[in-house]
Symmetry: C2
Subunit: 213 residues, 2 copies
Amino acid sequence: MNELKIETEQKIIKAAREVFIEKGLQGARMQEIADKAGINKSLLHYYYRSKDKMFDAVFQDIIKELLPAFSKMVNAEMTITELLESFVKFYNEFFQKNPYLPQFFFHEIWQHPDKLADFIKSQPVNPKDLADKMKTKLPPLIESEYLPQHMIANVLGMTLFPHIARPLFQRLFFNNSKEEYNLFLSERTNFLVTMMSGVIGDDDMNENPNDDF
Amino acid sequence: MNELKIETEQKIIKAAREVFIEKGLQGARMQEIADKAGINKSLLHYYYRSKDKMFDAVFQDIIKELLPAFSKMVNAEMTITELLESFVKFYNEFFQKNPYLPQFFFHEIWQHPDKLADFIKSQPVNPKDLADKMKTKLPPLIESEYLPQHMIANVLGMTLFPHIARPLFQRLFFNNSKEEYNLFLSERTNFLVTMMSGVIGDDDMNENPNDDF
DNA sequence: GTCTATATCGGGATAGAC
DNA sequence: GTCTATCCCGATATAGAC
């Protein structure tokens, strides 16, 4: 019995996630979620009292997957080049598996900035510390010119853009071929990593930003 | 009478645009649009038969404002540095005035890739030509390494990101202060222009990519 | 053209049997 | 826990008076 319950809840949350990510909170239909989960519509209300509560559960899950990946990498003991590499690789892979996700995420943070704020406040990590931490990883020459915020915006922007603009870009430049575009995306991971290393300079590869070394 | 009619239609399309951009097609309410236009709900149906048709009108308008700005600049007789500058300045200014717009645009192109495709096909401009044209503007050294698609994704990504990620970034790094963030955005325009010029090399400033010079 | 009143319907939510 | 049946409201859309 209990196993069945757990299994059902899994099916529901999985289906809900898929539908919400594709259609957004307003666009999603409870019926579609129920169909996709292979269960009855009213069961949704048994597990999650309302559509809103169900959405919250999904939204929180997704933020928890996206943001910590960010801070974990910044906190890890890596050089800036290694950091950028794991950064770009992680998000490129993640979004290639979940193409609708960037669109969903940014749409919903504009619709519910409050929900986002609550989550951020509940987090133990201080984002300003992250930015500072990132700054210490930068070679001195660049450090003086780049605000860490610019740096982060550059990296995230260049990584994210081809994913969120996919419906447009795939049609404009890749004959609307899914395969061609995935090829472009995979290739782009390497392109970005080598390009960024070039801008930063490879000479920090042997440096260690920590004093205790 | 006719003037009144025109005036009303203007008020409606303006209101519809605002509400659609903030809430999206699914999130928008006809009542809210009517209220914002200061007219009766049923008048909306008199001018545009349905919500969908109204949305189409708005969506087309917006695409027409966003994409041609793109191609006009690429076609203009500018060096790559001048091109990048007008590019970044145009979009940064446009999105600062219309903060919800990037979020709206990307959400809706995922929801209606068909509508987007139709528009693209109806355009006389060939995007591949644009990419090639852009390639001719690049200094030879860079040309060999950069696919124009990467170049475009880089510039658009770095320009767009702080706008679409605003609810997140403003909270994470700018105490959720609207003023501080606008300052950051304005400053970033210059930052991007100088940074990009640096990467490309300023030595193309005096070159003219055309043979007839 | 613009309004009021109303129809219609989709979709979230609840009651209750099993 | 899961289903069927039903409620009920919100939102788009239409009819018709002025």
